[in-house]
């Protein structure tokens, strides 16, 4: 079911309730398991990109037996075209922190980190003030959960949760083999819950307005509201909170410039949807949930768009696994060769197959998702790749 219509809502950015940490205070009175059930019931999925059901992650983490558990807020917002987490941290940091604290409460974690991308370091002073306020309140509420800020060093791959953990441990930011997953063996080998900034803020809002109210938003398979970072050929660039379930058609009508050719949904790790497929819902099957939406109008060369993506990938791959390290270079060199006439157009088909091998064999989401943008652009804009 899709509701076709685009509806701008105001859940996450709604004003704070009267007293700071009112949501947290109320949630701490509730049964832990009930809170987890509510989050599961709400249908909230991770807002970072992979879209894992948040409540399930918390449930598994709560089941882990360990003397210490960690909660990490992934603010390494590095997906090209996304800038919503920054806005959340600037405008409603208390909701993010509340979400972390609630997560800690229900999972039994005692230590939290905000993994902040280096480029956001100017946010640190304000965040520190907010954390001081939180720690005061946590003390009053008797919650044993402290949070500190950890600065990333700027690698895209460190947004991947296990690479993020490696970098926090002072190692190279390289994804780990999974299993074990971070909720089993995470930071310093302890169970660790890593969630995106928006996921925590959304969790806090579910606790505030209630699961039933939140479920009214969205459709059966896509619950709730979601932040979209709109960029590209749009007169309305910026962060918009939308109810889930609208079609790309409705989206392009609202945010496009009237000449929209394609929308890249989910950043470079997501799909490029051409106009002819605008009937699909914006976070339809397979589309990532990060909320980056880049709008391209007819003046854009999709070859250049793809070239730009691949150049980004070839640089940002951590380089440890073969399919991602070499595959990204091959795709980049490959489209250059086709464009230059060195390779025949059919070579593109071979490259699509290669990108499929990369999806099946890469170690982490980075290499696995290259095929999304690559095959969707090559298949839908083949002429632009050749001529």
């Amino acid at each position: 079911m899709s509701n076709n219509k685009l509806r701008v809502v105001d859940v996450i950015f709604s004003p704070y309730s009267v007293a700071p940490y009112e949501i947290l205070k109320n949630t701490l009175k509730k049964d832990k398991e009930q809170v987890i059930k509510d989050i599961i019931e709400s249908g909230l999925r991770g807002r970072g990109g992979a879209g894992f059901p948040t409540g399930m992650k918390w449930k598994f983490a709560a089941q882990q037996k360990s003397d210490i558990k960690y909660v990490i807020c992934n603010a390494d917002e590095g997906e090209p075209g996304t800038f919503k987490d920054r806005k959340l941290l600037v405008e409603v940091p208390r909701k993010v922190i509340s979400g972390m604290a609630i997560c800690a409460y229900v999972t039994g974690a005692t230590k939290g980190f905000i993994y902040l991308r280096r480029e956001y370091r100017y946010l640190v002073p304000k965040l520190k003030e907010e954390l001081a306020l939180y720690h005061e309140n946590a003390k009053l509420l008797g919650l044993d959960f402290t949070i500190e800020i950890f600065m990333g060093a700027g690698a895209y791959v460190c947004g991947e949760e296990t690479a993020l953990i490696e970098s926090m441990e002072g190692k190279r930011g390289e994804p780990r083999n999974k299993p074990p997953y971070p909720i089993q063996v995470g930071y310093l080998d302890k169970p660790t819950i890593v969630n995106n900034v928006e996921t925590f803020a959304s969790s806090a809002m579910i606790c505030r307005i209630g699961c039933a109210e939140y479920k009214k938003l969205g459709t059966d398979d896509q619950r709730g509201s979601k932040l979209f970072s709109v960029s590209g050929d749009s007169p309305k660039e910026g962060v918009h909170e939308l109810e889930l379930g609208m079609t790309l058609e409705a989206f392009a009508e609202e945010f496009g410039d009237g000449d929209t050719k394609a929308v890249q949904v989910g950043g470079v790790a997501g799909f490029c949807i051409p106009r002819k497929k605008f009937k699909t819902t914006i976070i339809g099957e397979g589309n990532t949930t990060g909320g980056s939406t880049m709008i391209f109008n007819s003046s854009r060369s999709m070859y250049h768009v793809l070239h730009n993506y691949l150049d980004f990938y070839a640089e940002e791959s951590c380089g440890q696994c073969t399919p991602c390290r070499v595959g990204t270079q091959q795709l980049l060199k490959g489209i250059e060769a086709v464009k230059a006439g060195i390779k025949k157009p059919e070579y593109l088909d071979q490259l699509v197959k290669l990108s499929d091998t990369m999806r099946m064999t890469s170690k982490c989401g980075l290499g696995q998702s290259v095929t999304n943008s690559f095959s969707s652009i090559v298949k839908n804009f083949r002429e632009e790749m050749i001529y």
Binding site: P179, G319, C321, T322, P323, V326, K333, T357, M360, K363
Partner: protein, 594 residues
């Protein structure tokens, strides 16, 4: 382990312990899954992705080396999907590889080459992404590094970190620029590298090789003016065969000697001779130190630690420069040999030492560096002109066109060709200690060590750190101060274990009087110059061959070697004497930590 896990691989049920990988499980039912980044000695990396397999219920393929077996898993190791993916991955690896196999030192002994051939990878399937203008780092005496042949499996990085705890090699940069490099990208001769060569024996391709000297040796052999002498270390004879068609663990001592003579070496001698000499000098040095500690109560560094492993010596110079006094001042057998070749031996055969080219056939990469240490010129010349690895010797024999399998056996030449079983076991971890104890016990008590057939079995084997305690009773009068003393000994192999020993010493908590340390796992038989592959199974077979060789020797204690007796009578006069001091002992230097 109690927790058994049963899974199905290619239709066959297999039960493994919890924590074992799918790869382990497949091995158990004789299903071979290709691997590149995986090595038995090292932690799991899961980064080459060649070992991917299909798992029921999963769309993506999973790396079998990095995925723990789980109850009820259904695994398919060979399906169209798997084969296509593997072929694609091989093609990608080949596309960033310098595929000039015809001129590669590791050709025919290269894991990448084998798999590329197995999957019949089309070199033109993808464009080459080999970095242009790559240069080969030949700055080190021991290790050559050619990035154009690196497949980024990181086996070397893990080896240097896990086995050796040196971390000379590390992954640097990211994405397409990612490579294995050194601290600040410094050349190999300027970094903290022990030259142990373990990275070489763990490298699946020709990216890391020993610096080769055989062309110079051929030139010397072909020069009628030169008298070329080679001495071969104990570990070479139990491993050389592997490079020439023999099974692992077969001793080829006699054939090796014949081959080297036929190649044209003027004299083929035995490093075991100076291994015996090392025992005499080192045992005496230890007794002097003990005397100082027990009798004259002088300040003396105990425990004393062996110094025959040049990788270990460079390690302690870098990592524990304040504890160099613990090292025995004895040169390694190779360097003793070199110093004597151009003095004693030259005199004996009446050849001008300036015409002698002294070559050492070693299981070792660090020996090349050691030969070039500036202080190793006590004969008035460079004592050892070149150190060749077992692999290089194998190459030379192949180049000579000899049919190694059918060669007759022959004996080492005389003057420094005679040796004992005690010297042979230098090649295995614990061997130097055992050889020293066999002699020291006789010196102290006048009796043989109280072990059956002189075999001190408690200090043999691959355990990381081994210990022994020996109580001295009924000592001869000179060593009565040791009466009733329970002396503790330790043996470590692999520099990670050496670090454990040294940290203990640094804390002042070492309970030992004498410690043997070898840089490489298993001792010299697992050295960085040995045939590739080397793994624990192979190490154990080479060790067995070493002890078999020992048992076959008529004399098994160093002090009973007649040539040793002779060299003291005719030349050295006495252990630790003036000549010994000049030719057989050395000094160490403090080196920087970075």
């Amino acid at each position: 382990m109690a927790n058994n896990i049963t899974l199905t691989i290619d239709g066959t049920k297999v039960t493994v312990d919890q924590g074992q990988s799918i790869l382990d499980a497949a091995k158990k039912v004789d299903i071979r899954i290709p691997t590149l980044c995986h090595h038995e000695d090292l932690c799991v990396a899961g980064n080459c992705r060649v070992c991917v397999v299909e798992m029921e219920g999963r769309n993506n393929l999973i790396p079998s080396c990095a995925t723990p077996a789980e109850e009820g898993m259904e695994i398919i190791t060979s399906s169209p999907k798997v084969r296509r993916a593997r072929k694609d991955i091989m093609a990608l690896l080949v596309s960033e590889h310098n595929t000039q196999c015809t001129t590669c030192y590791r050709s025919t002994n290269c894991e990448l080459q084998d798999l590329a051939a197995e999957y019949n990878v089309d070199n033109n399937m993808y464009l080459s992404v080999l970095k242009p203008n790559g240069t080969i780092d030949k700055s080190s005496w021991s290790v050559e590094k050619d990035d154009s042949k690196c497949i980024r499996c990181q086996r070397c990085v893990r080896t240097c970190a896990e086995i050796q705890h040196v971390n000379a090699l590390a992954v640097t940069e990211r994405g397409r620029d990612m490579k294995v490099s050194t601290f600040m990208h410094l050349p190999m001769n300027e970094i903290v590298c022990t030259n142990c060569g373990q990275c070489i024996t763990h490298c699946p391709t020709g990216a890391l090789t020993e610096r080769r000297y055989y062309d110079e040796i051929w030139e010397a052999i072909d020069d009628p003016e030169k008298h070329v002498v080679i001495n071969t270390a104990p570990s070479v004879r139990v491993a050389l065969g592997e490079t020439l068609g023999f099974k692992v663990g077969e001793r080829v001592t006699g054939k090796m000697v014949t081959a080297l003579k036929k190649i044209g070496f003027d004299s083929v001698l035995d490093t075991d001779f100076t291994a015996d000499l090392t025992i005499i000098e080192e045992a005496n040095e230890l007794l002097v130190r003990l005397k100082k500690a027990f009798v004259t109560k002088e300040e003396v560094a105990l425990p004393m630690i062996t110094s025959c492993s040049p990788g270990w010596v460079k390690f302690i110079e870098h990592m524990y420069p304040d504890h160099l006094a613990h090292l025995s001042t004895c040169k390694s057998p190779q360097q003793m040999f070199g110093a004597l070749t151009k003095t004693y031996y030259a005199e004996k055969i009446g050849v001008d030492p300036s015409k002698i080219v002294s070559v050492a056939g070693m299981p070792c990469a660090a020996k090349k560096f050691e030969a070039n240490r500036p202080e190793m010129r006590d004969s008035g010349f460079q004592d050892v002109d070149a150190g060749l690895t077992t692999r290089e010797l194998g190459h030379m024999i192949k180049q000579s066109g000899l049919d190694f399998l059918d060669l007759e056996d022959s004996d080492f030449d005389s003057h420094m060709g005679e040796s004992t079983g005690a010297a042979v076991i230098f090649g295995a971890t614990g061997g130097v200690m055992e050889a020293a104890l066999r002699t020291a016990y006789v010196v102290i008590t006048g009796r043989n060590v109280p072990f059956e057939n002189l075999n001190i079995t408690p200090i043999r084997g691959m355990e990381s750190i081994k210990e022994a305690t020996i109580k001295f009773e009924n000592c001869v009068s000179e060593y009565s101060f040791l009466e009733g003393v329970e002396a503790k000994f330790a043996i470590a192999h692999g520099l990670t274990n050496a670090r454990t020993i040294m940290d203990q010493i640094a804390r002042g908590e070492s309970p030992y009087v004498f410690i043997e340390i070898m840089a490489c796992p298993g001792g010299c038989i697992g050295g960085g110059g040995q045939p590739i592959p080397t793994n624990n199974e192979i190490r154990l077979q080479r060790i067995k061959a070493i002890y078999d060789e020992d048992m076959g020797k008529p004399i098994r204690m160093s002090h009973e070697n007649p040539e040793i007796k002779k060299i003291y009578q005719e030349f050295l006069k006495e252990p630790l004497g003036e000549k010994s001091h000049h030719l057989l002992h050395t000094k160490y230097r403090k080196r920087k930590r970075y």
